[in-house]
């Protein structure tokens, strides 16, 4: 289907909504194709291939809204889509802050953002299967203690995102990615542990090699064997980049515009105040070419941009869509996000903590007794209060070195103290997704164990 067809369709849906009585309307159409090949213990396990698309509509009648979606893009399906949204505006409440962005706020950033590679779709199925097999094989052959595997996968996806609204915005972009992952299982006596590694890129050439992915996953599983449950104690805690990233997820939840106007964040009312250690700078940037949080416009048709959220420890900005910004009397930061339909929520672009100067080895080297966290479990983070309590596994730091594996423990504290307690920021920032952080050391947390 041609590019213009879906853009025309989105604009047509907006016009139909207006003709049906909507004072404003916005339409999203998404189209995608997915492929995945899973191999396990050297054999093909699953092959999956398909494509799908759907359209979503949100309309306003005055200050009342209604939303709908459909996977049926036939004439009949579209008529029903429009009627459904209009029907629903009847039951919602007049909301003085509801509405689309102002015309002058709409737009998109120009230039090639490196989001799409046609070559991904052309990769041969046999080649993808062989790549997954090579990845698993690399893991299995790393060590005799790698005795089993949950398999390896090659996935790729290509999609098109179309958005149009009644204030004259119409835009679309394509994106693609491929990824390679494996999850080997290690065993030593009664101890059995698994871990994983993955790589993801906009096209095949951006992926780490099958051998690197496989051996990295295997080494990670091996170093978890024969873990100890340590005694309950307060110690310095180091988050490796993979777990440090989850702290960025927690910060994002706390600077989310909706949470701010509802006062359900421990960072509400703290703009301009010191909320983190002065070595901490957190940025949201949806304009970096090729990365996974990059897009030319947000899900309300507002151009993507770079926003400094925390600058040298001081809270500089929350992340906003049009609605939350109006509630707070400020401007959107271009962070609107939604699925096919509904009121826009708030999302992030590439949300990361700027790198520091120390290597992970230097950070660990300075700790006499501490915990290096390589895995976090569960959902025990309350961004209203900042209370933080999660399951953890990793390695114990003894006299500046990683000494032995630790599991079945918790780490706990409060995000307010944790952010100000970030005593060291590593130099090892890399983007494996849209959220990224380097190695981080927090001065003290409670490790719950025996």
């Amino acid at each position: 289907m041609s590019e213009n067809h879906l853009l025309d369709l989105a604009q047509d849906i907006v016009r139909r909504a207006q003709a049906g009585g909507a004072s404003d309307a916005e339409c999203t159409i998404a189209e995608g194709e997915e492929f995945s090949a899973n191999v396990r213990m050297r054999e093909i396990e699953n092959l999956k291939e398909a494509g799908s698309r759907g359209a979503g509509l949100r309309i306003l009648i005055g200050k009342k809204t209604g939303s709908s979606y459909t996977s049926d893009l036939s004439r009949e399906g579209i008529e029903r889509l429009v009627q459904s949204a209009i029907e629903l505006a009847d039951i919602t409440t007049d909301d003085p802050h509801a509405g689309l962005p102002e015309r002058e706020e709409l737009g998109q950033i120009e230039g090639d953002l490196g989001l799409y590679s046609a070559a991904v779709a052309d990769l041969d199925t046999g080649f993808k299967i062989e790549t997954a097999k090579a990845t698993e094989e690399a893991a299995l052959s790393t060590d005799t203690r790698i005795f089993n595997s949950e398999g390896a996968s090659f996935d790729n996806h290509a999609g098109r995102h179309v958005f149009a609204n009644s204030r004259g915005f119409a835009g679309e972009y394509r994106s693609s990615y491929c990824s390679l992952s494996t999850s080997p299982v290690a065993k030593d006596g009664e101890s059995m542990e698994r871990d994983y590694w993955y790589t993801m890129a906009r096209d095949f050439s951006g992926l780490e090699s099958a051998v690197y992915v496989g051996t990295t996953a295997a080494k990670r599983a091996l170093r978890r064997l024969k873990p100890v449950k340590v005694e309950t104690q307060k110690v310095p805690v180091v988050f490796e980049p993979r777990t440090a990233r989850s702290l960025l997820d927690n910060i994002f939840e706390a600077v989310h515009g909706m949470a701010i106007y509802r006062h359900e964040s421990f960072l509400a009312g703290k703009l301009g105040e010191k909320v983190a250690h002065e070595d901490v700078t957190v940025v949201d940037d949806a304009t970096i070419p090729g990365l996974f949080g990059t897009s030319p416009f947000d899900d309300e048709g507002v151009p993507s941009r770079r926003t400094v959220v925390i600058e040298r420890g001081v809270l500089k900005s929350y992340l906003m869509n049009t609605y939350a910004a109006r509630k707070l009397g400020i401007k959107t930061t271009g962070n609107a996000s939604r699925g096919l339909t509904g009121n826009a929520g708030i999302g992030h672009g590439n949300f990361y903590l700027e790198k520091g100067v120390q290597s992970a080895e230097q950070i660990i080297g300075g700790i006499a007794n501490g915990f290096y966290v390589t895995e976090l479990m569960g959902f025990g983070v309350n961004t209203v209060t900042g209370d933080y309590s999660r399951g953890a596994a990793g390695l114990w730091i003894r006299n500046g070195e990683l000494a032995f594996a630790v599991s079945e423990v918790t780490i706990a504290g409060n995000l307010k103290d944790m952010l100000t307690g970030i005593e060291a920021v590593g130099s090892d920032l890399e983007f494996r997704g849209s959220v990224a952080a380097p190695t981080l050391k927090i001065g003290e947390m409670t490790v719950g164990g025996r």
Binding site: E87, E264, M377, G378, N382
Partner: protein, 477 residues
């Protein structure tokens, strides 16, 4: 419902001959087994925030998934277009997994026995929006009226009506109409100078709208959310380290879901990657523990008349008096593990997903202890009555679940509420420390969502009050 009355036959004109044709296409390259999963899904949701109904949405999606199994290999393709050409194309793509001569012949599709667990005449999705919007307005008013310290309330009501049809090369043809509704309320409380605290509640099931008018009203959920938020205003720091933990009845059954349920799913055990692999017949819990997964409880959120393989659901004993009895099987795992049959545990998120073994409603049978006696028996410990989510590492067996409302037990009495804390344990070990089981088995109110390998499905849990002599609590005090 029978095939001829289904949306697929009545609206899309699909015939038995069509289904047999698609199955033939799916097995055109050989293959041991093929199935078709048709889905037609209507959804709606309404939410209120700041006493304004800010959002209302409805939608429709449909599609068909085609699966071909050849030995241990699965080929899968789907289409969101139910036209014959598109279904045939999906069948041809899935067929590529096999390489052999075409399987031909008749599949003798016949409609077998099925439960009738949710005889809902009018699904909530089919009722007037003006009735459903009242639910969130009532919840908002009730939560605010509960206490002057409640200052923010959000309530959400969502329902869906899923029509499914499964046709398999081993002759199964089954259709089901699966209504599901739930509402949830979140309330924030604060004192003059203190930090806000959140309370949360919700529930529902495969029910008519009347359930929310007669049985579990918006006022019930609102009061529960507001009560929790108010209770937490006085919370002190949670303790850290190993201690005695008492779980209250109902939703704390999430312990079973994380500690044993996932580890007993047959796919992990077929592959030997679960901490429970090869342990059938062994002691994995104290003899006070009998754990069931039951997909046949009427009107429950986790129940299904047939699973997504087209197999009737059943009541499965996972652990009996502490001994591991068996795994949760789907069609593929039961074939490969040479198990007599599926346990009716094959589930999938939608037509775009490959089915796998999943839980339905997982609970522990009641014991004989008086719940108050259980609390009185603990000199020092933690009493947990409400939880957020949980997670498990299947291979090591380590699991967590996060307490959102709990109280210190001191000298056999509940004293102070404590702040959120994660509990951590090891699946095959944790239930060995269960020393008392209450006579008050309760199922949760119907709000659970289980995620596995990127697929979400609705589930239920349940548990009586239990005492666990040793568990690690992740507080700071």
């Amino acid at each position: 419902m029978v095939f001829s009355e289904s949306v697929f036959a009545a609206r899309f004109g699909i015939t038995r001959q069509d289904l047999e044709g698609y199955l033939s296409e799916a097995l055109s390259q050989g293959g041991d087994y093929a199935d078709l999963y048709f889905e037609y899904l209507l959804t709606s949701s309404i939410s209120i925030d700041e006493s304004m109904v800010k959002s209302a949405a409805q939608g429709v999606s449909m599609g068909v998934g085609v699966r071909v199994i050849s030995g241990e290999r699965t080929g899968y393709a789907y289409s969101d277009d139910l036209s014959p050409e598109k279904i045939r194309k999906a069948a041809r793509v899935a067929a590529h997994i096999a390489s052999g001569p075409a399987k031909t012949g008749k599949f003798n599709l016949s409609e077998g026995a099925r439960h009738n667990l949710y005889p809902v005449v009018t699904a909530p999705t089919e009722t007037a929006f003006t009735d459903r919007v009242e639910l969130v307005k009532r919840a908002d008013r009730a939560a605010r009226a509960y206490d002057a310290r409640i200052f923010q309330v959000q309530a959400m009501y969502a329902d869906n009506l899923r029509q499914v049809m499964v046709a398999t090369s081993d002759g199964v043809l089954t259709v089901d109409r699966q209504p599901l509704a739930r509402m949830s309320v979140s309330a924030l409380a604060r004192t003059k100078d203190g930090a806000p605290q959140r309370g949360h509640s919700g529930g529902g099931g495969r029910v008519e709208l009347n359930f929310f008018l007669k049985e579990k009203t918006p006022e019930h959920f609102a009061a529960e959310a507001a009560r929790e938020a108010i209770a937490m205003l006085d919370a002190v720091e949670a303790p850290a380290g190993e201690m005695t933990v008492v779980l209250g009845p109902g939703w704390p059954g999430i312990l079973l879901h994380e500690a044993v349920g996932h580890g007993l799913e047959a796919d992990f055990n077929r592959k030997g990657v679960s901490a429970f692999s090869g342990r059938v017949g062994q002691k994995v819990a104290s003899e006070l523990c009998t754990v069931i997964d039951d997909g046949t409880i009427g009107s429950r959120r986790g129940s299904l008349n047939v699973d997504d393989d087209g197999h009737p659901t059943q009541k499965n004993v996972l652990i009996e008096n502490g001994l591991l009895r068996g795994y949760l099987q789907d069609k593929l795992s039961s074939r490969l593990m040479k198990n007599p049959s599926s346990t009716g545990s094959g589930r999938r998120e939608s037509y775009a997903h490959i089915p796998m073994p999943r839980m339905t409603n997982t609970y522990m049978l009641a014991g004989e202890s008086d719940p108050e006696e259980i609390i009185r028996s603990v000199p020092k410990g933690l009493y947990c009555v409400n939880f957020g989510g949980g997670q498990v590492d299947i291979t090591s067996g380590n699991f967590v679940f996060s307490a959102s409302e709990s109280y210190l037990i001191e000298g056999g009495k509940l004293t102070r509420p404590v702040r959120n804390a994660t509990l951590i344990g090891n699946g095959p070990e944790a239930l060995k420390y269960v020393s008392m089981v209450g006579n008050d088995l309760r199922l949760d109110e119907g709000i659970g969502v289980c995620g596995k390998e990127g697929q979400s499905v609705p589930v239920g849990v349940g548990i009586p009050t239990i005492r666990i002599d040793r568990m690690t609590v992740g507080g700071t005090a």
